[in-house]
């Protein structure tokens, strides 16, 4: 035993799994929302951080209909390769993650900023509050940026992250994941989410993954292994497409052309 058992939360995985099942049962009685439930008590940190008033429905206007612009002054091409940030090769399975960002109408989100961050192959983040006693890798930071191309496509080379423990309950482990931050063509399309890997045995146990109560929506966070993306003698390939809400405006509006 590497940790003092008395310091561990007493709440068991079985207890959390029961809470998850109850939340899902209740959700089935209404229409499934796409996004994670903000009030999802099995994820303990959500209890004091979700609004209790219903969100106010408004039509986005003016600045909300467009998004910040990013360009090649913002992102260096090397930032899409997380394996070249140290002086040597990082430890772990080298992977290529590629996909396409579109809006809800299927239109590509072109030239926009996509940011990622992740743990290393041992499940350790470079972060001051991170306490998991797994090794840091001097050749791996775990942060990357890329601009989508004119067709909305992106590619990132990295190391497959490891699962890691956290303190939501006793023996809580996060499935391996890469955090994604994406800008759309409207500010209202802003999205932060997590990409997972196929076949992870921790999916059913994880209150963060399960905070999305629609099983089909949960599945959309899992990348697909793609042998055509895999490079012989070099790296495994995964494909993950991202769909944002429908854009309601673009910079083609005449009122903006003088300033764009």
């Amino acid at each position: 035993m590497h940790v003092d058992p008395a310091s561990l939360p007493t709440l068991t995985q079985a207890g959390i799994s029961k809470e998850i099942a109850e939340q899902h049962r209740q959700a089935q009685e209404s229409a499934y929302p796409v996004h994670a439930l903000r009030d999802f008590p099995p994820y303990r940190s959500s209890i004091l951080r979700h609004p209790t008033h219903p969100l106010v429905r408004v039509d986005p206007e003016t600045v909300e209909l467009v998004a910040p612009a990013f360009g090649h002054t913002d992102v260096h091409g090397d930032e899409a390769d997380l394996t070249i940030q140290g002086s040597g090769e990082p430890i772990g399975e080298r992977i290529l993650v590629t996909g396409r960002v579109t809006d809800g109408d299927g239109r590509p989100v072109a030239g926009q900023l996509l940011e990622v961050w992740q743990a290393n192959a041992a499940g350790r983040y470079i972060h001051k509050r991170e306490q998991h006693p797994a090794p840091l890798d001097p050749n791996f930071v775990g942060t990357g940026r890329v601009l989508t191309d004119s067709d909305g496509r992106y590619s990132l080379r990295t190391i497959k992250p490891g699962p890691y423990p956290w303190k939501n309950h006793r023996n809580a482990w996060r499935p391996a994941h890469i955090h994604f931050s994406i800008f759309g063509s409207a500010f209202t399309q802003r999205l932060v989410t997590q990409m997972y890997f196929p076949g992870d045995p921790l999916f059913a146990l994880d209150p963060i993954y399960q905070s999305i109560v629609d099983p089909a929506a949960r599945d959309r966070l899992i990348a697909t292994y793609d042998h055509d993306v895999t490079e012989p003698e070099w790296e495994l390939g995964f494909r993950w497409d991202i769909v944002l809400t429908g854009a309601k405006s673009t910079w083609m509006e005449s009122e903006d052309t003088g300033h764009a």
């Binding site: 609004p51 209790t52 408004v58 003016t62 002054t73 109408d105 955090h179 300033h259």
Partner: protein
């Protein structure tokens, strides 16, 4: 139709990746017209939230929408107003941006800064708007503010708390809970 990708929490460990040194500095400190917009992110127990990320997006001082890249590289490019700011809350839950007060973007629209909030424990981000307390006349005729219950409207209004400084606290839950918006029925 393609199906939407769901949101997941930003988690506790984004601090080494998403924040960047010039993120809060949309306008140079001390320049004419520069204001400080700042506040505290607060949870349902009244405690500060030390691991939130606040992003701001706004028109320029003349109310024009901006399509200028360079928000991530304000240190190496000639300073240009991009309209986008990013501030991670500190140990006291405090966030800030140095910016300009936006101009009104249209008729019946009071000047506002669009804000999106991310945090550990927040499974899906929250959108809100920051209006300005010294724009009473414009605020009174703003179509969106007018639809908000009078007793909650003040949560959307930053109050002047010093020379060229405005305070906008973000209360995720409980008394004085900030009004958050749903733009497209999927959030």
């Amino acid at each position: 139709m393609p199906e939407l990708t769901p949101s997941q929490t930003i988690g506790p460990f984004f601090g080494f990746s998403l924040p960047y040194p010039t993120g809060p500095y949309i306008a140079p400190v001390g320049a004419p017209g520069t204001i400080r917009l700042h506040g505290t992110v607060i949870d349902g127990a009244g405690a500060p939230v030390p691991d939130a990320l606040v992003e701001t997006w706004q028109a320029d001082a003349d109310g024009r929408r901006i399509a200028v890249p360079g928000s991530l590289r304000r240190d190496v490019t000639p300073f240009e107003f991009t309209g986008f700011g990013r501030s991670a809350s500190d140990d006291d839950g405090h966030w800030f941006v140095s910016t300009v007060k936006p101009g009104p973007t249209g008729p019946r629209t009071a000047p506002f800064v669009a804000i999106v909030v991310f945090a550990r424990g927040l499974t899906t981000h929250l959108f809100t708007r920051c209006y300005f307390g010294d724009e009473e006349q414009a605020n009174a005729s703003d179509a969106v503010l007018g639809r908000i219950d009078a007793d909650r409207r003040s949560s959307l209004v930053a109050e002047k708390d010093g020379e060229r400084s405005y305070r906008f606290d973000i209360r995720l839950q409980g008394e004085g809970e900030t009004v958050f918006f749903d733009y497209d029925r999927t959030l």
